[in-house]
Point group: C2
Chain length 317, copies 2
């Protein structure tokens, strides 16, 4: 299996310049003297999540003839928006197949970018997207199981390494594994002394189980569905899992209560609107001190697409 | 009267590098094809507002002997935090004199940085700060009425000009006038074709009245106190007003309802926690089309220190 390289990530960075925002590292007061914390706010991307990096890179890599036949994808929401956004930029049609329980804000946003949205039960989404690709000739751009997508997500890691060459710990949400695999590849290439640790909800803790066993462990979709972190209910593919094994030092998990508290603290202390999935790395920093090395820490805040009513409820509680 | 120059701003930029975040321009979906909108999110600064730029620049310019005698200031909140933060960085004591009705979140933050907080009626704050400076030998660093403070705030304008040399319109909140005077100086020097327009609440519309009359107009403090935008209740000094006359093309005002709606939209569409004062420039973009030139627009989002309960209430309404 061919894994992506730092050169793939550098090439992706050139492709996405002008589309993805080069997000800054924000110092926070959520750290301690021996564990100062910066956040990388990917919630500030045009679609509210890092997914624009991988989607744009993958779509830019297609030949114009192939691209014009359209794009299709399956996604819990943020990748769907990213494909819809990339399709609009390139002026081609897009269809997104989305689990029926995806937050309305994510579905509406994909529609607002002009994509056709097909709602299906979560277990059927990949098959339906593949069927649409076969029928229409559209290209299936998967949410993580593709080298161009992984390389695109890795550009966030390139930026971390450029902005803080002496970073000691990078914490990254893990679901399908594209973000952690991509960022980890960049950080390990450029800051080889830094530790890179994935974070996921304990209720969707399949990546930790697999990583610590050294071989992938599958959890039933209905189990992974339990977490509030709707963007972290996928499982890695063979390709992304191989990247995780290569670049991560560990995977830690956080509880639902810790995720909600991190959302609240990020609003109050960092003035960021963050969705539960986007807050897990900060939750780990605050609550898993015994499992994490000390030092200058960057937590990737992966997205900010949360229903306003739920967000208001979290802020008031 | 000596006004600041682009060289003063460039020198300030060197002083504040490493303390202030170099905030990106964030593209939004709040614009229209002929008026695309980017926001400059100063709410993401370490203290949650642009004030860190001017405060750090002014404190860095003091001689070590003077600085060690301590700092004192008066402020509606964000400048108080900025002085407290700068004092902590330089290891010197700070006292902040704050109106008694300042939001608790701002007062607590200044205390958290180790400053002594003195609460007084708004009309007495300047006199009390001056008295403390006389008694203790501390240096009074005013919130806007000082060239070093104005030059520091201007660094945000330098960044706008660097990141978008073809910007056509810059919208900036106006209260004491340091931010608008500083940013306007940078933008007019580097992008002479761009229009620069100040924005304030109609309930504290003294700067518009003065600007359009060509001479300062004074409103009673109790009138300026009516707006929800607690950071925009000051009036320009002679020094800042002279800057506004030189660099602004106009001042427009927005209603309280428009400010609240902009706070709500910035949370939902830009994933930013913004205080009412920070949202006025976006409110103008959305509601004052007839008074604003078209073109590529940057709205400065000046701060994000809003009481969580009030923010949750705005999001839910």
């Amino acid at each position: 299996m061919q894994l992506i390289t730092i050169e793939d990530i550098r090439a992706a960075a050139e492709r996405i310049a002008g589309t993805a925002v080069r997000t800054p590292l924000l110092p926070t007061n959520l750290g301690t003297p021996d564990r100062p914390l910066w956040v990388k706010p990917e919630s500030l991307q045009p679609i509210g999540a890092f997914k624009i990096r991988g989607a744009h890179n993958a779509v830019a890599r297609l030949s114009p003839e192939v691209r014009e036949r359209g794009l299709v994808t399956y996604s819990s929401g943020n990748h769907a928006q990213a494909i819809a956004y990339a399709a609009k930029e390139f002026g081609v049609p897009a269809t997104v197949v989305t689990p029926a329980d995806t937050p309305r804000i994510k579905i509406d946003a994909a529609r607002a970018h002009g994509a056709e949205v097909v709602l299906v039960p979560m277990a059927e989404r990949e098959a339906r997207a593949e069927a649409i690709a076969l029928e229409t000739g559209a290209t299936l751009v998967p949410p993580f199981d593709h080298p161009d997508v992984i390389a695109g997500q890795g550009t966030a890691g390139l930026e971390i390494a450029e902005d803080m060459p002496d970073v000691e710990l990078v914490l990254i949400p893990v679901s399908g594994g594209g973000l952690a695999g991509g960022i980890g590849t960049a950080v390990k290439a450029l800051c080889p002394k830094a530790k890179v640790i994935g974070v996921e909800p304990a209720l969707a803790g399949d990546a930790q189980a697999g990583f610590r066993a050294g071989a992938q462990v599958h959890w039933a979709p209905e189990d992974r569905l339990r977490t509030i972190a709707d963007g972290l209910r996928s499982e890695p593919s063979k390709l992304t899992f191989a990247h995780l094994l290569r670049v991560l030092d560990d995977v830690v998990t956080v509880t639902e209560e810790e995720i909600v508290e991190a959302v609240r603290l990020l609003a109050r202390r960092a003035r960021l609107v963050v969705e539960p999935s986007g807050a897990v790395a900060v939750a780990a920093h605050l609550n898993r001190v015994e499992e994490l090395p000390a030092g200058r820490t960057v937590a990737v805040v992966s997205g900010g697409n949360i229903d306003p009513a739920r967000f208001a409820e979290i802020l008031s509680s």
